[in-house]
Amino acid sequence: MPKSSLKQTLKDLDTKKISIRELNQDYLKRIKENENLNVFIHFSEDNVLKQIDNLENDNSAKKLKGIPIAIKDLFCTKSMPTTAASKILENFNPTYESFVTQKLLDEGSIFVGKTNLDEFAMGSATNTSFFGNTVNPLSKENEPLAPGGSSGGSAAAVAADLCLGATGTDTGGSIRQPASFCGVVGIKPTYGLCSRWGIAAFASSLDQAGIFSHNVEDASILLQSIAGFDQRDSTSAKVDIPNYFENLDDDLNGKTVGIPKEYSIDGTPMEISEIWEDAIKVLEKKGVKIKNISLPHTKYALPTYYIIAPAEASSNLARYDGVKYGFRSEEIDSLDEMYENTRAQGFGREVKRRILIGTYVLSAGYYDAYYLKAQKVRKLIADDFNKAFKECDFIVTPTAPSAAFPLNEKQNDPIKMYLNDVFTVPASLAGLPGISIPFGKDKNNLPLGIQILGKHFDEQQVFNAAVSLERSYE
């Protein structure tokens, strides 16, 4: 069955071709048929039925009325528990709603469930979750594949057609990389476009909410719904949010695309270089000027990220101490014992590793050598992009250095795992918007992704280039 698009579904609902109840029952059925994928940490059919009841009694016009949406379990939701895929928040029921999910509720969307992720969004395979792996829906029977991460549950939910869109968060690639692995569209907007209010914090100077969808048009509709200024997030931007969907324009004639030479990395599979070249050829045919650009500090982006992100994480995760909410250890002979045992038992291995690294690089005597140094290199990386964008309108690169890898592939070497983010991290450090769209397949018929990066708050250009590439590929 072909997957229906959000755009088409909105039309079908509008013309009464299908009712909200029929639509969502269809999705509920598929969710129940696909339980083996372990997409959801929290799913309750009753909760969905209740939302349908409420909407049926609601006569007001709403933009996303009745649309089934999956929510990454990092967003606080009043109606469902929020765990960040961690034991330490196993029984946490937020008493408030995140900005992004409130916007989606105001538009009348239905939350089908809370999706799995790497614990506190730290990972690239959704395999650090306390609630087990999510399986990539594109897996062959005998070889389960990773959905990517950290927003692997949301990417898989869209890929398996368990919803018409899903929210994600992206700190170093956590939307774009899983989108590429699962063959769906994923956009991380400019840092500051969507308020971080109510999102469990990982690395606050990098975290940004975004969207997964079946296609670029749907992403443009959904991103507009979750964007906007919010005074409860001091880094939230006061910018006008255009109607991305109405403004979509696939005519790129006269535009210039930047191709950064530093993204040709030794060891990248041939197929990935090939789809990159294919994308460039398509753009050239559309009258886009090809400009070779240089982002000289690209190779330092990963080490910079793996100082800054753990440093901020170690600070953000200090709040999980067993006092105010979440898990508390049983071994609590003293207050210190309580803290130390709660955090030892409540956090998983990768999260502890990052807290320890972050604590070290921020500790007395090491701050200048690591953290301050990384912030300075971050400035150089951001400056590289600023310079490059004087010569081009958008940048095209591959999204990830591989297609989806097997779930049981040993990931004992943290640095090897961190390399998954090699193409996505630089734009995160610079706060730029980036989208991944499916573009081509590898020899095993697994999807590969192309990443399009734009200037700050130029999501429209990113969408335009993406829709143009998407339409030429279909």
Partner: protein
Amino acid sequence: MKIDKNTINKIARLSRIKLDDKESEDYIKDLNSILDWVEQLNEVNTENVEPLSNISSSILPKREDVSNDTNSSEEILENAPDKLEGFFAVPKVVE
């Protein structure tokens, strides 16, 4: 080796995370390999470069100085693992 047994114990203590011996050993190995890897940043000349702490170009907005009352203590305590007479409860601190 940057991280030895003493250092890992110190960081674990600062992080309020209890580690057993096996974990300490694993983290000593992991952290040393990560720190060796990030050391490549020393190749970059950062003289006279301003550190970038926040990408947001906007100036921190000010809000009106008005009080609001969005949280009740009852709500805040709803998720507490232990509470007593409207407060969070923790193990005894003073003997």
